[in-house]
Amino acid sequence: MEKSKKVLIAEDSSIIINLTKKIMEFEGYDLVIARNGQEVLDILKDQTFDVILMDINMPVMDGMQCTKAIRAHKDPKISKIPIIVITGNYKNYQPEDFKNAGVNEYLQKPLNFDKMVEYVKKYVDA
């Protein structure tokens, strides 16, 4: 059997995590959870992913900082992972800001999970 595709979610809300977990597992993906940007960077030390779902507003290290750190990573297997951000637009970021930071897609809160699945598929199956 083909190995499941791996999705990483960085999110501090357990509600969004639980829902995403249920949906990704239903779709047949493996979901790994990080609670903030720093945890993402730690996990990326020994694992790689097909796509990352990244919340913007998180404690310790927010999604923007984390995205920039990933894009600046020396290992291309990591720096090129597609990133889909999740934003409640807490800091009033514009689409341009996301693009400049190297974000592939962005999802707005309240989350449309169908859209999330669509974006994940787009990058995972690419």
């Binding site: 501090d12 809300s13 357990s14 509600i15 969004i16 639980n18 829902l19 249920k22 949906i23 239903f26 779709e27 507003n57 409640g88 807490y90 809160k109 309240p110 989350l111 449309n112 999970f113 169908d114």
Partner: protein, 244 residues
């Protein structure tokens, strides 16, 4: 100053007489109706600031009447106040759901009616918009249940209730004015969670509280916060039924 127009709806002749006198002495312009249907006819033909309505009445009760009144295309909708000698917790939710803005326990205290009239139109219009929002948005529930069925959603909603309780308890401990950043962040999380699971009313009130902070206008904070707690209670009571 313009006199506040009030429609007093009650089937008890003596009660109407006494309260009318009290209200007129306090400067209200009082009109009378004897049941829900009578009140509805009045409201169709004339604008009122406040409708003070008994719940149990012959011909048409308060609950039916308020639903009809809310369906009227009337942007200057009056503040709808239900009055009764006693409200059970269940009844409180039902009445608010049906469209009453406030509940007053009989005997009526004129001071309370005066306090209501002070925030007449502004609040009532806001509330009318909110009234149309769902406790639980069924379109979202349908969408989510595509991924493994409705029954599987229950633990997720249980977790949402738990997390929201936690956020509200934290919000109760912060001082919105002094600790604006943390307050805003808690509300932001609550709003995003609620919106994502389709708890529309909760999400909208969290948004309103967030705006209160952004605009640095804390005047209505307690009022809205009370609503947040009311909506959450309403959600907790109803979500299981709405998921089956």
């Amino acid at each position: 100053m313009k006199r506040i127009s009030l429609l007093l709806v009650d089937d008890d002749f003596n009660y109407r007489k006494i309260v009318q006198q009290l209200l007129e002495t306090s400067g209200f312009e009082v009109n009378l109706a004897t049941n829900g249907n009578d009140a509805f006819q009045h409201i169709k033909n004339q604008e009122f600031d406040i409708v003070l309505m008994d719940i149990q009445m012959p011909f048409m009760d308060g609950l039916t009447a308020v639903k009809l009144i809310n369906e009227l295309d009337n942007s200057e909708r009056p503040i709808m106040v239900a009055s009764s000698a006693f409200f059970s917790e269940d009844q409180k939710i039902k009445l608010k759901d049906a469209g009453f803005d406030e509940l007053l326990v009989k005997p009526i205290n004129i001071k309370e009616v005066l306090a209501l009239s002070n925030r007449a139109h502004k609040t009532s219009i806001k509330k009318l918009t909110r009234q149309k929002m769902a406790i639980l948005n069924q379109t979202i529930v349908q969408k989510l249940s595509k991924y493994g069925g409705k029954a599987d959603l229950i633990p997720i909603y249980e977790n949402f209730v738990e997390e929201t309780s936690f956020l509200i308890s934290k919000l109760k401990k912060v001082e919105p004015k002094k600790e604006a950043i943390i307050t805003k962040s808690l509300l932001h999380t609550l709003k995003g969670n609620a919106g994502s699971v389709g708890a529309d009313k909760l999400s909208s009130i969290a948004k309103r509280l967030e705006i209160t902070i952004k605009e640095n206008n804390f005047e209505d904070w307690h009022l809205h916060f009370q609503e947040l707690e009311d909506f959450f209670l309403e959600f907790r009571i109803n979500y299981r039924n709405l998921l089956t």
